[in-house]
C-alpha cells in the first residue's frame, strides 16, 4: 500500500485516496472551437508510461483536496507531491 504525502495533511496511506489519472491533461477552454480529434484526445487518449508519471490523487477520506503526485509507475517510488495549483516543472 502506497504512502502518499498529502501536501495539506502529511503522510497518509493509499486507502485514504482515490486515483485520478494523468495530471498533465488540460481541459480545452470553454466556448472554444476544437476539432474532433483534439476533443477525442482530451476525453479518451492517455499515455501509460513506464517510469515517471505526474498523476492526480484525490484525498477523499481526508482533506478532499485533489493533489498531484510524481510517481514511478514501475517502482512505485514517489518523488514529490504538489498542491493542485502548484506548477510542476
Amino acid at each position: 500500500m502506497l504512502y502518499i504525502k498529502c501536501p495539506h495533511c502529511g503522510l497518509r496511506s493509499q486507502n485514504e485516496f482515490a486515483y485520478g489519472g494523468d495530471a498533465s491533461v488540460k481541459r480545452p477552454e470553454l466556448n472554444k472551437e476544437i476539432s474532433d480529434q483534439e476533443w477525442d484526445e482530451f476525453v479518451y487518449l492517455r499515455k501509460s508510461p513506464r517510469g515517471k508519471h505526474l498523476e492526480l490523487w484525490h484525498h477523499v477520506s481526508g482533506c478532499r483536496q485533489w493533489i498531484k503526485v510524481l510517481r514511478d509507475t514501475s517502482t512505485h517510488e514517489i518523488f514529490n507531491t504538489y498542491k493542485s495549483e502548484e506548477k510542476v516543472g
Partner: protein, 998 residues
C-alpha cells in the same frame, strides 16, 4: 499411555502441567509448552498423514514453519480448521486433530495404490491426463481427485471466532528474534527508537534456544531471556511472539499475522483468535534466520527422516527424542551439535559425513565423546514403510559419482543436514535483488530496494560473533538516523565453536540398477525423476519447471525443497545455479487464514449501514427494508398479509387518490456557495442557470465529458450566493468529487465552495392531490397556495417551532412537496406529518411505490441513467442548452450521438394487459428469429401502473421516437418469457404535466 520418547531432564516444557489431547480419536498426554508435533513424537507417533500424489506415509520433517509433512485437521471449541502444521500448533487441554489426505484411515489408505502405480503419475500428469476426453472430467477425474486428494476440509459453518485488524507505525520493525533480531532491537531501543520485534514462534531467541554458545558468560538462552525481559519493560518497544511477518509491500508497509489465542482451548469473549497488523516502518530489519536443507537420497520421505536441526530442537526445547537409534547424515559441521546432544542424553548416534575428513573443534569434541563418525559415507536409501527401520549406507567416491561397499544398518531415524538456506523471502518481496553466494551454495539478499537491511543467517552469516557485531552496529546506526541519539551499547563477548567448510554435496547418486524415489518436494511428491522428465520434455525456465512439476507449490512453498530443485536443474542443464535463478517469492510467507485477512469486515460489518433519522418509526410501523447503496430504506409498509405487490400498489394508489409521505433523506445534498456559484452551475449542468431567481428550484442534468448523463436532480437558490443541490442517492459521492475536481483543477478562478450536507437534513416527500391541504395544516403561518408557493418554488417555514424548508418539487408526478428539517428534528417532522395526515387519509409509501409512480409518469432514474445513455436517449434533450458551453457538450456532436435512429426512451405495454415484463428483457421484432436475434432495445424498469391498472414498462429502444404504436416482443431467456408488446409514449400518466402545477 507413557511418553516413551520423552527425556527427563531436558527441555523447556512445563512438566507440572500435563495436557490430554486426541489424535485420530486416540487419547495421549503431553505437557504445556509442547507443540502437537513434539507431543506426538514423545508418544512414539510418527505417522501423521499421507502425501498429496502417491499417498505415501508422512511423519515429521522439521520443527517449525518449514514443515512439509505434518499437516492436520484441527478441532477446537466446536470449530474445525484445515492445513494446520502440527509443528506450529501448540498443545492445549482437549486438543483434537486428525490426519488428512487419507481415506479411509492413515494406516490403511486406498490412495496409496498410486504409489505402486506411480508410472502413471509422472511430472505433468495432471496436464497430460486430465485434458482429455473432456467428458471424463466431471464424471470421473474430478470426483476421484476430490475424494483421494487435497489437504483437509474447510468448515461449512459460519466461523464464530473474532479476527481483528490493527494499524501500527514504528521506527524499526524487526522480523525474527534470533541473535541478530535481539541485538539490533536492543541497540535501537536503547537509542530511543520505537521498535516492534516480531517472533513467529511462542519462544523468543531463535537459534539461541538450541545452539551451544555462550554470550557474556551466559548461555544463549539466558542472554536472550534477559534481553527480552529488558525490551518488554521499555515503553518504546512492542514485543510480540506468535507473530509472523508474512508480507513486505510498497513503501515499507509490512503485514504481520498474530495468532492471539490459537494456542488456547478457546478464545475469551471479545478477544480475537488472530490479529492482522498493518505496520508502516521507517526501517526494517530482516532477521528471519535460515532453514536447514536436506540431502536427497532414496526414499528420503520415509517417516523418521528428519532435519538434524529439528531433531536437536525436539531434544533441547521439548525434551523429546525423534528416535533411539539415530543416524546423523551431514555434509557440514552443524549436524554434529545434534549428534552430541543425542550422546549427552545417552543415545548413541552414528554420523555419516559426506566429506573426506574434517578436524574442526566440534568434530574433535564429538570424537572425544566417543561418537562413531564415518567420513566419505552417505545414506543410499531408507528402508521401512511407515517408519524407518534401517538404511543402506555406502562409501562415496571423492567425485561423488560412485558408491562402494553398500551395507544395511539398523536405525529408527535419519537426521539429515545439507547445510543452511537463508530465509530471504521478505528481502525479495520488498523488491530487492538477490545474489548467489558460492561459499554457502544459497541465495542471499543483494541491493535492497526499500528501507530494509538483512542480518545474521538470513544474510548468509553463520557465526554468532559476526552476527552480533553487525546487528548491534546496524541497530545503533539505523536508530541514530531516526532519533539523532548517540547511546551505543557494548557488544557482548561471544564464545562459540568454529565450523569448517561444508561439502558442496546435495544428492546421493542411485546405485546401479536401482530406481529408488528420491524426493525434492515432500508435500507435493516431486522426485528427482520428475524434474529430469520435465527438462527432457523441453521445460527450461525455472518458473515453468515449477508449474509443470508442482515443485515448491504446496502449502510449505518449497521451504526445504526449492534450492535442491535448483541444484538439480543447474546440474542437468550444466549451468551454475545463479544462471538458472530462483522462482519469485510472493507473500504470504506461510499460509494465512482467510478469517485474519477479512478481519471484522464480515456480514453487516462489511460496509457501514446508514439509517435515516426516521428509521425507528419505519421499523415500528412494519416497514420492509431494502438496501439502497449503504442506506436502508423502507421498500413498503406491510399491512396484514400483504406482499410486496399488494402493499406497493395500495401505497401508490393512495398517492394518486389522496396523499402519501415518503422518506427521502437519502438523497444526496450539496451546498454550493460563493459569488460564482451561478456561473459554476451553468457550466456543470446542461441547462441554463444564470437567471434562476432566489426562492426557485430547477431540475438539472449533468454530463460526464464523454457526453454520458452522470446524474440529475433539483437545485434550489436559497439566497443570492447559496444553492442547495440534490443528487441521486447512488451518485452523491461521485458528484461531490466531480464538482471538487472542476473547482480545484479546471476552474480554480471560480470563487465557489462545495460541501456535502446529506447528513444535515432529513427529508419527507408529501405527494398527492391532498398534499396542499395537509401542508397548510402543517404550516398554518405560511402561504402554500399555488400563487404563494408555485411549482418549483421554495420557502423557509416554521414547523411547530422547528425550522423547515419547503420545496415544491415532484418525482411522483402528483402535486407534491418536499419538506426538509435538520436531521435531529427528522423524527419530529415525520410524526407530525403522520399525525396531521390522518385527516387526509395519508399513508407512508416506500421505494417500490415511489418507483411505480415515477415509472408510469416516465421520469427517468438510475436504471435509465445507467452510464450508457446521453440526454437524447432518456428524453432529456430538451434540457440541453444550445447557447452556452458546459461539461460534456462537445461530445454531443459525435456522429453516433446524432444518428437518425438513435435509441430513445419509450413506454411498453403488454398486448394482453396482464403479463408483467421482466426488467432486462430484450425487445425484438421476431421472437422466432435466427440467433443471434437482433436486439432493438431493452426494458429498463417495470411496474404495475396504478393509474391504468395494467403492467407498464420503460425501455430504451432503437429509433424509439418513430416506434410509438409499433408491436414488438419482449424476450427474457432468463425467465423463459416471450411477451407481445406495444410501444407507447413514456409519459403514460398526465402527459401534459398538469397535476404538478395544479
Amino acid at each position: 499411555m507413557r511418553q516413551n520418547y520423552r527425556l527427563d531432564k531436558i527441555g523447556l516444557v512445563n512438566r507440572e502441567k500435563k495436557l490430554s489431547f486426541k489424535f485420530n480419536g486416540k487419547k495421549y498426554f503431553g505437557y504445556e509448552g509442547d507443540t502437537l508435533a513434539s507431543a506426538l513424537i514423545a508418544n512414539g507417533v510418527h505417522l501423521v498423514g499421507r502425501s498429496f500424489k502417491y499417498h505415501r506415509p508422512r511423519g515429521f520433517f522439521g520443527a517449525g514453519v518449514d514443515e512439509p509433512y505434518a499437516i492436520v485437521q484441527l478441532y477446537r471449541n466446536g470449530e474445525t480448521e484445515p492445513n494446520v502444521r502440527a509443528t506450529e500448533q501448540e498443545l492445549f487441554e482437549g486438543l483434537e486433530a486428525k490426519s488428512v489426505n487419507c481415506w479411509p484411515s492413515v494406516n490403511f489408505d486406498i490412495g496409496a495404490i498410486n504409489n505402486f502405480l506411480n508410472i502413471f503419475l509422472p511430472a505433468g500428469f495432471y496436464y497430460k491426463t486430465f485434458m482429455w476426453p473432456r467428458s471424463f472430467w466431471y464424471r470421473i477425474y474430478e470426483p476421484f481427485i476430490r475424494k483421494a486428494a487435497g489437504f483437509g476440509v474447510a468448515s461449512k459453518e459460519h466461523d464464530k471466532e473474532r479476527y481483528e485488524h490493527k494499524y501500527e507505525y514504528c521506527d524499526l520493525l524487526i522480523a525474527g528474534s534470533g541473535p541478530s533480531g535481539l541485538a539490533s532491537a536492543y541497540a535501537a531501543a536503547k537509542n530511543g527508537a520505537r521498535v516492534i520485534l516480531a517472533e513467529d514462534k511462542p519462544r523468543f531467541g531463535g537459534s539461541l534456544l538450541t545452539s551451544d554458545v555462550s554470550i557474556n558468560n551466559q548461555s544463549g538462552k539466558e542472554w536472550a531471556d534477559n534481553i527480552i525481559t529488558e525490551l518488554k519493560g521499555m515503553t518504546n518497544v512492542t514485543v510480540k511472539n506468535r507473530a509472523q511477518i508474512f508480507g513486505y509491500y510498497d513503501h515499507n508497509m509490512l503485514v504481520m499475522s498474530e495468532r492471539v489465542t490459537d494456542h488456547l482451548p478457546k478464545s475469551e469473549q471479545f478477544t480475537p483468535k488472530q490479529r492482522l497488523w498493518y505496520i508502516r516502518a521507517k526501517q526494517v530489519v530482516i532477521s528471519s534466520g535460515s532453514i536447514e536443507r536436506p540431502i536427497v537420497f532414496g526414499n528420503n520421505d520415509t517417516p523418521g527422516v528428519v532435519l538434524a536441526s529439528a531433531a536437536k530442537e525436539y531434544m533441547k526445547v521439548y525434551g523429546v527424542l525423534v528416535g533411539k537409534k539415530p543416524i546423523v547424515f551431514t555434509n557440514n559441521d552443524s549436524a554434529y551439535e545434534t549428534a552430541i546432544e543425542f550422546k549427552k542424553n545417552n543415545i548413541n548416534p552414528i554420523v555419516l559425513d559426506s566429506r573426506q575428513d574434517s578436524n574442526s573443534e566440534i568434530i574433535k569434541e564429538a570424537k572425544s565423546l566417543g561418537i562413531d563418525i564415518k567420513f566419505s559415507h552417505v545414506v543410499v536409501v531408507a528402508k521401512g514403510y511407515k517408519k524407518v527401520k534401517s538404511c543402506d549406507i555406502a562409501e562415496i567416491s571423492e567425485d561423488k559419482q560412485n558408491l562402494n561397499q553398500i551395507k544395511n544398518i539398523e536405525c529408527d531415524c535419519i537426521c539429515v543436514s545439507g547445510f543452511w538456506t537463508p530465509t530471504i523471502h521478505l528481502a525479495s518481496q520488498s523488491g530487492g535483488k538477490t545474489k548467489f553466494k558460492e561459499e554457502i551454495d544459497a541465495f542471499v539478499p543483494d541491493k535492497s530496494k526499500q528501507k530494509e537491511v538483512t542480518l545474521g543467517s538470513a544474510n548468509g552469516v553463520f557465526t554468532l560473533e559476526e552476527t552480533l557485531k553487525t546487528s548491534f552496529d546496524k541497530g545503533f546506526e539505523l536508530s541514530k538516523e531516526i532519533t539523532n541519539n548517540n547511546n551505543s551499547q557494548q557488544i557482548p563477548k561471544v564464545s562459540e565453536k568454529k565450523h569448517s567448510k561444508h561439502d558442496k554435496f546435495w544428492c546421493v547418486p542411485l546405485p546401479k540398477g536401482k530406481k529408488y524415489k528420491r524426493f525434492l518436494d515432500f508435500q507435493n511428491d516431486v522426485a528427482v525423476s520428475d524434474i529430469e522428465l520435465a527438462i527432457r520434455e523441453g521445460y527450461r525456465s525455472i518458473e515453468h519447471v515449477k508449474r509443470y512439476t508442482t515443485l515448491g507449490m504446496a502449502t510449505d512453498q518449497g521451504k526445504t525443497s526449492n534450492l535442491n530443485g535448483l541444484q538439480l536443474v543447474s546440474n542437468i542443464e550444466n549451468k551454475v545455479v545463479p544462471a538458472v535463478g530462483h522462482t519469485t517469492f510472493r507473500p504470504p510467507y506461510t499460509p494465512i487464514s482467510i478469517g485474519a485477512i477479512v478481519g471484522r469486515e464480515i456480514g453487516k460489518h462489511s460496509k457501514p449501514t446508514r439509517k435515516s433519522p426516521m428509521h425507528n418509526w419505519h421499523e415500528k410501523n412494519n416497514a420492509v427494508f431494502v438496501d439502497a447503496g449503504v442506506w436502508l430504506r423502507p421498500r413498503y409498509y406491510k399491512r396484514g398479509n400483504e406482499g410486496l405487490f399488494e402493499a406497493s400498489k395500495r401505497e401508490a394508489e393512495n398517492v394518486r387518490k389522496n396523499v402519501g409521505v415518503c422518506d427521502v433523506t437519502t438523497l444526496g445534498k450539496i451546498d454550493v456557495k460563493g459569488p460564482d456559484a451561478a456561473e459554476f452551475l451553468n457550466r456543470v449542468y446542461t441547462n441554463a442557470w444564470l437567471k434562476l431567481p432566489v426562492g426557485k428550484a430547477r431540475y438539472g442534468v449533468m454530463l460526464r465529458e464523454d457526453g454520458i448523463v452522470m446524474d440529475d436532480g433539483t437545485t434550489t437558490r436559497i439566497s443570492e450566493n447559496h444553492y442547495h443541490m440534490t443528487t441521486t442517492t447512488a451518485q452523491a459521492a461521485n458528484v461531490l468529487s466531480h464538482l471538487e475536481y472542476y473547482l480545484q483543477l479546471v476552474w480554480p478562478e471560480l470563487d465557489v465552495n462545495v460541501v456535502s450536507t446529506t447528513e444535515q437534513w432529513a427529508g419527507a416527500a408529501i405527494a398527492g392531490p391532498k398534499s396542499r391541504d395537509l401542508l397548510q395544516k402543517l404550516f398554518p403561518d405560511t402561504d402554500v397556495s399555488n400563487e404563494g408557493l408555485p411549482f418549483m418554488g421554495f420557502v423557509e417555514a416554521n414547523l411547530f417551532g422547528v425550522n423547515a424548508r419547503i420545496f415544491r418539487i415532484s418525482f411522483s408526478g402528483e402535486l407534491a412537496y418536499e419538506v426538509n428539517v435538520e436531521s435531529d428534528n427528522g423524527n419530529f417532522m415525520w410524526e407530525k406529518i403522520i399525525e396531521i395526515g390522518k385527516d387526509f387519509d395519508l399513508q407512508p409509501y416506500g421505494t417500490e411505490a415511489l418507483s411505480t409512480l415515477r415509472i408510469e409518469m416516465g421520469h427517468v432514474a438510475g436504471s435509465e441513467l445507467d452510464g450508457r445513455t446521453i440526454p437524447y436517449d432518456t428524453g432529456l434533450d430538451g434540457l440541453v442548452s444550445k447557447k452556452k458551453d458546459f461539461i460534456g457538450k462537445r461530445s454531443l456532436l459525435k456522429k453516433a450521438y446524432n444518428e437518425k435512429d438513435r435509441q430513445r426512451l419509450v413506454g411498453v405495454v403488454p398486448l394482453d394487459k396482464k403479463t408483467s415484463i421482466p426488467e432486462g428483457s430484450h425487445l425484438v421484432k421476431d421472437p422466432k428469429g435466427k440467433l443471434p436475434n437482433p436486439k432493438l432495445g431493452h426494458i429498463s424498469a417495470s411496474c404495475w401502473s396504478v393509474e391504468h391498472n395494467n403492467p407498464f414498462s420503460l425501455a430504451i429502444l432503437k429509433d424509439g421516437k418513430n416506434m410509438i404504436g409499433s408491436k414488438l416482443y419482449a424476450m427474457s431467456p432468463l425467465k423463459n418469457k416471450t411477451i407481445a408488446v406495444e410501444i407507447v409514449s413514456s409519459h403514460y400518466v398526465d402527459p401534459k404535466g398538469e397535476r404538478v402545477r395544479s
